[in-house]
Amino acid sequence: AQSVAQPEDQVNVAEGNPLTVKCTYSVSGNPYLFWYVQYPNRGLQFLLKYITGDNLVKGSYGFEAEFNKSQTSFHLKKPSALVSDSALYFCAVRDRSNSGYALNFGKGTSLLVTP
């Protein structure tokens, strides 16, 4: 079985400050990990993914995420938040040992960046 936990329903950050959106996962094998962002009335937009290799993954809009196997985490980070980053962020996992391609999503974290 595979699952994703996003322990924070909401994260509040002041503009210009660094932001972190947390994600932990549970899979029986090795994971593929993804971050998506959802703006109001929009679909899910792909931000970045970890497949293999360097644990620090860089993605769109200045976001990055660090894969930590020992802590089974894949936290999303950005050095300096923008008001326009305010949105709903979803972490997703796929177990490499599964033959299927379905993504298993967390429940989402709402990020609010205040001016």
Binding site: Y32, R42, G43, L44, Q45, K49, G100, Y101, F105, K107
Partner: protein, 116 residues
């Protein structure tokens, strides 16, 4: 940049009615997916589709659901007899289908289905 499109953006239907949700995947993509998101809950996988066949489905995707690629561009999700609990946002996604599970899934904007 190519995008996945979905129609309609909002569908209201009466319980027991059939609905068809439509998606146009990115043109050179080969794998197609449906997910749903009940209000306030996480996004859940429904079904994946490749080469005119269902390749994977979840427990949610029971006999009242079906998928079809009726022509070269559209990918549809049919709910045969809608229930109140089918009210959700339905997302279509597609991947290039390079034969590996590392492909990025690109999502459409969703169709909000309201069952009364």
């Amino acid at each position: 940049e190519p995008e996945v499109t979905q129609t309609p953006s909002h569908q209201v239907t009466q319980m027991g009615q059939e609905v068809i949700l439509r998606c146009v995947p990115i043109s050179n993509h080969l794998y197609f997916y449906w997910y749903r998101q009940i209000l306030g809950q996480k996004v859940e996988f429904l079904v994946s589709f490749y080469n005119n066949e269902i390749s994977e489905k979840s427990e949610i995707f029971d006999d009242q659901f079906s998928v079809e690629r009726p022509d070269g561009s559209n990918f549809t999700l049919k709910i045969r007899s809608t229930k109140l609990e089918d009210s959700a946002m339905y997302f279509c996604a597609s991947t290039r289908g390079l034969g590996t599970s590392t492909d990025t899934q690109y999502f459409g904007p969703g169709t909000r289905l309201t069952v009364l």
